[in-house]
Symmetry: C2
Subunit: 354 residues, 2 copies
């Protein structure tokens, strides 16, 4: 069904139909005829051809590392909100945490085309840089800092440091206890390098140290967190706190701790008394995370974590993007968003919620 067929059926020119569709000048009578024909035929104009002509698709593409993530869904929620308010629709592409796929999907979006691209970034490789420099559609990066595009990111270092300090203080209650850290690849400047460096800085500020044998690198998956935590528990018997770079990893670590305790004999005493006790085989190892995952909080009562304004970063990112798409705003913007430390109920008192 093409516009010309509609025009013929309605006995008008194709231009008239086009104008009808786009709110131009059409006399009342013809308007009726056209309307009727469109009704009957169920005609829908081809975005395809329209976009070829107008260079405008009212679509923005969002590239995400994975689908099944609370933090990412909070970002896309913010993005989607702004987009729909301003008459755009959102298409998503998931890369399954493969950085090269990020570039591939951005290219697909670029010449599909969409009006703008939002990248929820994991790492900025040479490929990324090349694309960002050459892209013919505007891009904004969320979650990573880059000077090659407008970006909005979070204070991961500050968050890490706050967590490091909190852990350092908690550690003071366990004279011989140590903290461990399960991070993610440092190629991820935000969730990898910044959080870990901040964490170490925070620990140091409290007079603690994080040695190499107390560190692990995990993928962004619960299973990977499980493995890393289990390995730590087996190798080091003085760990009393395991801090993780994400709440998802923390969930895996919690599972590992449950299993570890199951294997290494049942608990002999309730934990409720002992804030001064530390682990030698069976005491309560505590876990911290980043991201303020609500699901985790609901079923566990909560662990110490950091709340990032993910939805806000989505909103700001989308606004930035549309500003350059529509108003051709040319001034580069880098936006850094703060964080909020989230304490766990009863945690600093020594007990983690059951």
């Amino acid at each position: 069904m093409t516009i010309r067929e509609i025009a013929q059926l309605a006995g008008v020119s194709n231009a008239a139909v086009s104008r009808y569709l786009n709110g131009g000048y059409v006399s009342g009578e013809k308007k009726e005829r056209i309307k009727k024909v469109i009704q009957e035929t169920g005609y829908q104009p081809s975005m395809q051809a329209r976009t070829l002509r107008t260079k405008k698709a009212c679509l923005v593409g969002v590239v995400v590392p994975k689908i099944n993530s609370e933090s990412i869904s909070r970002v896309t929620e913010g993005v989607g909100q702004v987009l729909s308010e301003r008459g755009y629709h959102m298409l998503l592409a998931s890369t399954d945490n493969q950085a090269d796929k990020e570039v591939m999907y951005m290219k697909i979006f670029e010449n599909y085309p969409v009006d703008g691209i939002i990248l929820i970034g994991t790492m900025i490789t040479a490929q990324h840089r090349k694309f960002l420099k050459e892209s013919r559609v505007p891009v904004v990066v969320i979650g990573q800092y880059t000077r090659l595009a407008n970006c909005v990111y979070h204070d991961d270092y500050g968050a890490g440091k706050a967590m490091g300090r909190a852990v350092g203080r908690a550690l003071a209650l366990y004279p011989e206890g140590r903290a461990a850290y399960i991070g993610v690849t440092r190629e991820d400047k935000a969730a990898g390098a910044a959080r870990e460096d901040g964490f170490c800085a925070g620990l140091k500020a409290e007079g603690q140290e994080l040695e190499e044998e107390y560190r692990r690198v995990s993928r962004f998956r619960m299973e990977a967190g499980y493995e890393a935590a289990m390995d730590l528990l087996k190798k080091k018997d003085d760990i009393v706190i395991i801090s993780c770079a994400t709440d998802t990893i923390a969930a895996g670590a919690m599972e590992a701790i449950l299993d570890y305790r199951k294997e290494n004999g049942p608990e002999k005493e309730s934990d409720t008394d002992g804030s001064k006790r530390y682990r030698f085989g069976n005491s309560p190892v505590k876990v911290t995370g980043f991201g303020d995952n609500q699901f985790l909080k609901a079923v566990t009562g909560g662990i110490p974590t950091v709340h990032f304004a993910y939805k806000t970063s989505g909103i700001k990112g989308a606004e930035l993007l549309l500003d350059v798409v529509e108003k051709e705003e040319r001034i580069p913007v880098e936006m850094k968003l703060g964080f909020q430390f989230v304490e766990a109920p009863g945690w600093s008192g020594g007990q983690q919620a059951e």
Copy 2:
């Protein structure tokens, strides 16, 4: 950068460039010149125009109700796997559980266009039916039964019944205890009607009944599960099991139970002894779900739930779709996938993992 500019720079015709790009006849020498120019300019052909010509985008659109869901991500994982094996890419659109948006995004995909659409369905409205009948691109529906398109769905009724029987048997240990059910809208034939009806049938088979005051309807969100469960706990003091239509809702219910117990005085006894005890204000209310959420299992140790072959349904759905896209397969297919009941460790013995 258009194909014509490349042609000029290479000193050939646009047709030659087009052939070069699509593997047609080009002499070795020209091939080199074209290759060089494309390298230098970083030219990328417009899918846009190409698709307008060829009617083929090597793209399929997947419409999902929400992003942040383990079950949905398992489906899209399966879909993405098949697609990428066969040279297609996957674009996602999330509807935030609004059925009308499902149709809207299918229309966007239809005339964007993509080669095929996969709908992870929540409900089939009149709008949906209209679209499925008239769509010019093939659609397969995953998760719901429909005769208007190829579909692959799960045995939700059977799963519900299995759960109903299990709950019924567990209930026998609590002479005066009752089960409650938190469902979702019955407009969702699969997760709503089928699971609930199956559940009731299963209960009945064990000689139990599910009265109206023991039912609630929730949205697909943890918070909604929390509210529903809290309401049940407050209104009925003989509930010992709350069965939920999804694991996400179950997580909310678990949180509600934690909170409820916190408010209504601390536990006086350990739960470990008492399989015969039932709740009067403070005993262990148990929760069941559907979907086999791994995150939930990790942090809680697991609740009774049902495993659906979500990834498989994604794989099968994508294969079905590509068969009609590529081979123009015309025989309608309806595929029903079974389920697997997942017991909770130590549950039937009366104790839920802490």
